[in-house]
Symmetry: C2
Amino acid sequence: MNIVIYIYNGMTMLDAIGPYEVLRNLPNANIRLVAKKKGEITADSGVVHLHAKHQIDEVHQADLLLIPGSMIAFVREMKDRKVLEWIKSIDATTQKTVTVCTGSILLAATGLLKDKKATSHWKPIHLLSEFGAIPTRERIVEQGKFITAAGVSAGIDMALYLLREIEGEAAAKVAQLAIEYDPNPIYASGNYTTAAPEIIGAAERLMAAEAKKELSLWDMIKNLRTLKKLGR
Amino acid sequence: MNIVIYIYNGMTMLDAIGPYEVLRNLPNANIRLVAKKKGEITADSGVVHLHAKHQIDEVHQADLLLIPGSMIAFVREMKDRKVLEWIKSIDATTQKTVTVCTGSILLAATGLLKDKKATSHWKPIHLLSEFGAIPTRERIVEQGKFITAAGVSAGIDMALYLLREIEGEAAAKVAQLAIEYDPNPIYASGNYTTAAPEIIGAAERLMAAEAKKELSLWDMIKNLRTLKKLGR
């Protein structure tokens, strides 16, 4: 199975690495991390760097396309017609097209999620509606061949779900045991709908402070009409 | 806070990226991924490549040292006296020294876990006893400044636990919400003590097939006396 994970500057590393670590247990998985251009890709933290060995103009097919999210860089990707066209062209060849976190907003910007339910990170999930998708606050949302997952760590759950669909229950269970995925967080503070208001506020401030490091993109989120004109 | 994550060829990517994605929410975190030599580091899958910007002979201090595990490459690292000495010298400067998966076996090979309880991936956990540590089948084991986590995904739980210790409850909860860590695996197959025997068998075969791709290291695991002579 040809698995393509799109990687880009400013991406959130765990969005890609969580699902990758599950999916690589798929028999005969051929996983490629594909960037706009071969070479270095820097995560949103600025401290983790991937080395991309594949670039989009050389990759024309995937059975599975995975689009990770980012703190704010998804806005830059949305402005890039070449990226949107490539995503659409690969999607035309996939069995499944899946996203983690704000990857769903990038996918929605191509138009492919129009009138479909989709999830995303709890904070920017409303942006999905700007592109005709229906924001749906669930951990995993499946609509035909499209599966979207909530923020960051949700990609691990999504990948196990996907592995079950592709290869069956035993394969999903084996992968889960291989990565010893028996989660046991010390707190129950990972869900927006049940987190304490002061924790939500503090998380919003933390993320906004980081997102505002790229002020031009931050301003663009606030003016999505411009973004939509650029993006489609 | 200076956080150093040791990265090496053959490492399991999620072992490092899971905790990193939690810890980067720590205020004033200065995270460095440090390799033997600057340049490219390839994960155990062979398809994910990091670009290391720091190398061990230039890094002399850390408040927190994190050692990720690997399918089998930890055995190669154990043979490298320079790596073992560097780990010991950094540990002498840390507040916390932590591991994920087989990272604990590499740490044990330095002698630092002697007579201490430690956990590891469920499959090779018995190897800890070869280096005087006490194999303890728990998700997180804390012994003074040392915290060891079970396989792969356990690093996320461990990092939240660590964040609570370093920065307090609110900081851990905020990080958990930022990465939307509200895990909801479709199966309960991530724990060795409760997984079905046929799933354990299949996972063992899957991992052995991959580990045996590096036959020289595989043989070395089977002859740990040689390894111990080399390692210390």
